[in-house]
Symmetry: C2
Subunit: 256 residues, 2 copies
């Protein structure tokens, strides 16, 4: 099935969705077949790829509850080689509905067997929590990509996230590893950002990507046009950072 990568961090607003959309687009541009599963009830990844609410007939909610095969929920996006499983707000109810089910943490992993097409990459955009949806994504994934905003509160949550990943690895998914930590919304004029970047690199070393995504207003404008920033403004610093990240992700995967 190729590499399944969960894009996760329980801290809110750190760039999970932005990374899932734009890394996915950059990988698709490298002729990789990519599927993005929008696993956040907010549905920002679906909107950011131009898929309106009305166009989301079969969703991640139907799939994780076993009411539809994953291949039924897959739809094309406007980007070649880049497909989407959209989300809907009902998905937040799945956390409660799954609680009493046996193997509740494996619902998504089991659903992944229901794919018809062979993808090189399956990215899972996670909600800002460590509840059952994120745990399902961590159980289904080979690796985790952790976007980290260069801010104090975001740094505070990192050790909790790494402990949770370790717990999932020990108990539910031995193959799980941290592919890397991505520094996002970096403003080099800002001392705090530099401090956080230095701290994280000294703490995690090679697990931090070389690529840093700068704070760049074009990145935040792109979703209002339903476009990844790579299509909205390919030459801007934000888009170029995601192109560079795709190269790094591919190299890391080839190395393992």
């Amino acid at each position: 099935i190729g590499r399944v990568v969960a894009v996760a961090n329980q801290k809110g607003g750190v760039g999970k969705t932005t990374t899932a959309i734009n890394l996915g687009t950059a990988l698709a541009a490298c002729r990789k077949n990519v599927l993005l599963i929008d696993f956040d009830p907010q549905g920002n990844a679906s909107t950011g790829l131009g898929v309106q609410q009305t166009e989301r007939s079969v969703t991640a909610y139907d799939v994780v509850l076993g009411d539809a095969r994953l291949s039924d929920a897959v739809q094309r996006t406007q980007i070649p080689n880049f497909d989407l499983v959209p989300s809907v707000v009902d998905l937040s109810a799945a956390e409660v509905e799954l609680v009493d089910r046996p193997r509740r943490e494996f619902a998504l992993k089991e659903a992944l067997t229901g794919l018809d097409k062979d993808y090189d990459y399956v990215l899972i955009d996670c909600p800002p929590s460590l509840g059952l949806l994120t745990v399902n994504a961590l159980v289904a994934a080979h690796s985790v990509l952790v976007p980290l905003q260069c801010e104090f509160f975001a740094l505070e949550g990192l050790s909790l996230l790494l402990r949770t990943i370790e717990r999932v690895r020990r108990n539910l998914n031995q193959a799980l590893e941290v592919q890397g930590v991505l520094l996002t919304m970096y403003d080099r004029r800002n001392n705090l950002a530099q401090q956080v970047a230095t701290d994280v690199r000294s703490f995690l070393g090679k697990r931090v990507y070389e690529t840093i995504v700068p704070r760049n207003v074009r990145v935040s404008e792109a979703p209002s046009h339903g476009l990844p920033v790579l299509l909205y403004d390919f030459g801007c610093a934000g888009a170029q950072a995601y192109v560079q990240l795709a190269g790094e992700v591919l190299r890391r995967d080839q190395a393992t």
Copy 2:
């Protein structure tokens, strides 16, 4: 018990914690007795007020499960008139543990009867989700303050949040109202931010506070010193915005 205000928005990273900490500090500076309940398992509000993990003995987790009275969990902060009920990561388990309890949405409201001191304001910092913790906060509250980042994805989630508030009002808490929507991280050089601000004002009119909190690096530096920005750099634009907001909140409450 005074006014109970839930600071809520399921979109992550929009400034909920920053608003709860700094509005609380500004109200305390106006000689109001303020209590902040940190209802987010991340515990950012507790850290931002300088209360380390090791100093959090009785927490919001113990209270909402009924293992401790609210007054047992209240601790003083370094700010006069400003007390805190700290949070701990176990609080995320409360969402699952409460699911099967009768009146699960009323756990926090019922706990509020266990306060010894009379507060003018009780602020509740919510996690980035619409799960049981946020619903408990909405049921316990008289009003909701909605921080809204001037970004596209944040705007997308606003109608979902307003529908959820309406549903809680109809079924669980008739007194609940939206005190106001606060525009945060506003950068006047950014067209998107101006667009979002215009859209929100035309959509919600008077429910949007006059006060706008500008994007201001001093605001994001303050938590790394365990201080509200009002104490870290009182003269900066971010701190002054929260002082102005406190005035507006007080005027709105007097009017009702």
